[in-house]
Symmetry: C2
């Protein structure tokens, strides 16, 4: 008997804890039209959560192709793959948009080490995208640690012949980890340009992550206006190695670090954006675009960055078709090429869109990982920003509370214009930089439900954008 | 040059995407008092994210002690551990509250299999808490699959001599996975009581999870009022095995499944709730309690369930002390014993609280995993519910949007009363049932920042409850 009572009380607690979420849709006052929208949004979520395809698409892309850096054979395979699955979904038309992309190759696995107190420490290291190689024998030099580009500049000629070590960590106090990334990434991007000027032998940078672990995180860099003869090799070391090196330098400021990499930039390579669309039922000349980027860094499988964005974008179209929701405007899905090191795909898409006098009324990009949905960032005029924010009551039952003004994304950003409503999908960011640009960005880090909830969230805001931007935006004839 | 432009545009996008979150605190109109609260809350978050102890405490608990089922040597060790770390934090007083707990032991690893078309299939299986053993030779019988307790009852004597297989899966359409759990767990808890009545030889149940995987999930069950001679063994099988068995039964309804387990319930064992407190600076006779449960199931390490709740609860007190925030009321931290199979610790705590005429004005429980914070569930009178909901503008910058009415938790639930404000911490639930009650509930599934954000979220609402319930609740003299 006591067990029955135990069960009843536990069960009651469970139920009473949780029934609110499922009934909230009905608890807010909705207009008749909003009720219809609410029903359609629920349909999209139900469909994604019970019949979503994104997870299996992602498994295929990440495990059968893997990392797909622009210009690589894997990137070429991913284009073929992208075209194939778009056709399988049954889009009205699917095509490849040619674009020339940078072609940087990593070469042999990098190596780094130093000796302190007779002990050799191996340093997990990886070259940064666009970096030159070290000489074949590697670089061996003393290390100067700095925290900022400004501090490096002040060193001036003191860095000649040295390796400069940028070691400003993420600000863990920032709740949104993208803010912490934004506050640090200048070290990675511009460190070599600054230090090459003063004759440093190389630059190493602390990996861009909140986490303290053993994985070096790659990413793009730029030599800026530096003359070619001043180019120096640059690489990222793991955050734990950065902590250890920093401590060791306090003990022995004269220790010499060795690193070796054989990366190089080849001639630009031919590639493609992969594009498919459902033709609009009422104003097909107006386009709402949804996309992510097909290329990825080479170290992992490009799962959260940005395999998830790719499969979620296509799932938006899949969910529309499956549930017989016909977009009034043309719904276009784009798998952009080369976001990671050049954004050439994005530039080509915008350039041709302008050339062909296409009229984009809205865009949505998913390139912030596949974690649990939090909301969207809105880059639009005031009227449309307020319009999107008025959908909060329809979206909040699904955990989509964040609807603030902000940027959209690197791939749709070039489409920006007064009457173009651009939106960035914003899932939870806490775990993202654990995996970003490193070997652990693999399929197993993606949770099926979180991914599918993201697809449904994106489909929902696209549904609303298609319906309400349509009547809100002057049609260009 | 083009690279510099590339960098500038990418960097601008990153920054513009993300700066909103960090400035939102200032963008809403706050009163002077709210400004002060906002500053204190920011301090609590900064402190947790840069100097939190919870992650290392959790590592210690999960990796050096591991799973700690009530009555086990590990549970006894965890009591000693709990007392030790509470003292290390420097609480004003720390004590153990004796409580007798059920003592069920799993015995040898369970086994299950069946043969179909000449192929033997091994079935991942685990006994349910409080289940009896099978005979030493195991149980071998035909299987009847049902979806509900009602369907089982209708079978009546048709189940005599058979194994009944409950296979109603989670409803994946429910956004909150606890709702899906609540809609299924009756099969696990009451299946054996229903089928023992009709002479079934055993009951197996599909694991309580959204995920399709190979891990059986244990959990408590009850024989209810069934006379002892009708008790039958009951166990959970993995969700993938349940899918396969269901398909195989369609092909061969007469297949015989074998399973064996050697679990048993011993005499009640002595154990303890671990309690510590910071004495209130103004009305120490009023108590605000924060806690989770120290016991866990035996299969994993009890990380998300509920190691995270334990370390977050203690971190609330740690953050108060570290930042010199003196609670007006007594802040009491409780590590409850035996939530998983008996809630004896909770009952003892409430019983003694009543006996000693203690005055609890508020309580907060963390027992829903250590994932990224979403909000709180409020179980309070109307005035205090509205009071807590009025704090939304202070909490939403940290992703704490959910402040709905609902249950609090199994351990603080018995303290419920008209003037007691009970709150349940509600982190994101999407991944929780991947790990719940199974061997994968291990330390590596917990993300450091998500855990610390949870500690800070809890500290923030405790700070507000301590301050505002204080002036809002009649003091009992």
């Amino acid at each position: 008997m006591k067990n029955i009572l135990l069960f009843i009380s536990v069960f009651f607690l469970i139920i009473s804890c949780n029934q609110k979420q499922e009934t909230i849709i009905n608890s807010k006052k909705l207009s008749l039209e909003e009720e219809k929208d609410s029903t359609n949004i629920k349909t999209l979520f139900n469909s994604a959560l019970t019949d979503g395809k994104s997870y299996e698409w992602l498994r295929d892309l990440t495990q059968n192709i893997g990392g797909r850096l622009s210009g690589s054979p894997e990137a070429a395979k991913s284009v073929v793959w992208g075209e194939k699955i778009m056709k399988e979904v049954g889009l009205d038309s699917v095509w490849l948009q040619p674009v020339m992309v940078p072609h940087w190759v990593r070469g042999e696995k990098e190596a780094a080490s130093y000796t302190i107190n007779g002990v050799e420490r191996n340093v997990p290291i990886c070259a940064l995208g666009f970096s030159i190689a070290t000489p074949k024998s590697g670089v061996l030099a003393e290390v100067i640690e700095v925290k900022t580009l400004e501090e490096a500049k002040t060193l001036g000629n003191k860095m000649t012949g040295k390796i400069v070590f940028f070691n400003r960590p993420f600000d863990d106090q920032l709740i949104n980890t993208f803010s912490a990334y934004g506050g640090c990434v200048d070290q990675r991007v511009n460190g070599a340009a600054v230090c090459g000027e003063f004759g440093a032998k190389g630059v190493i940078v602390r990996s861009m992550t909140n986490s303290v672990d053993d994985f070096p995180h790659t990413g793009t860099m730029s030599y800026g206006d530096l003359p070619k003869e001043k180019y120096i090799p640059t690489a990222a070391i793991s955050s734990r190695a950065a902590n250890i090196l920093s401590a060791d330098l306090k003990q022995n400021p004269n220790l010499k670090l060795y690193f070796k990499q054989s990366c190089k930039t080849l001639s630009d390579a031919p590639s493609f954006n992969v594009i498919g669309e459902i033709r609009g039922s009422e104003t097909p000349e107006n386009i709402v675009v949804v996309g992510g980027h097909l290329d990825s860094w080479d170290l992992g499988e490009g799962a959260h960055d940005d395999g998830t964005g790719i499969v979620q974008s296509l799932e938006v179209a899949y969910l529309f078709k499956k549930n017989n929701i016909k977009p009034k405007n043309t719904l276009r899905v784009v798998f952009f090429m080369n976001e990671e090191n050049g954004t050439r795909g994005a530039k080509k898409y915008a350039e041709l869109s302008k050339l062909n006098k296409e009229n984009h009324i809205g865009g949505l990009e998913s390139d912030a990982g596949g974690h649990t949905p939090r909301g969207f960032s809105i880059d639009a005029n005031t009227v449309n920003t307020e319009l999107l924010q008025s959908w909060k009551k329809l979206l909040s039952p699904y955990g989509l509370h964040d609807l603030d003004k902000g940027g959209s994304g690197a791939d749709i950003g070039p489409l920006k214009g007064e009457n173009v409503t651009l939106v960035g999908y914003r899932p939870d960011s806490q775990r993202y930089f654990d995996y970003h640009h490193t070997s652990t960005d693999t399929f197993d880090k993606v949770n099926k439900r979180e991914l599918e909830l993201g697809s449904a969230s994106m489909a929902s805001i696209i549904y609303l954008m298609d319906k309400y931007l349509y009547s809100n935006t002057p049609v260009k004839l």
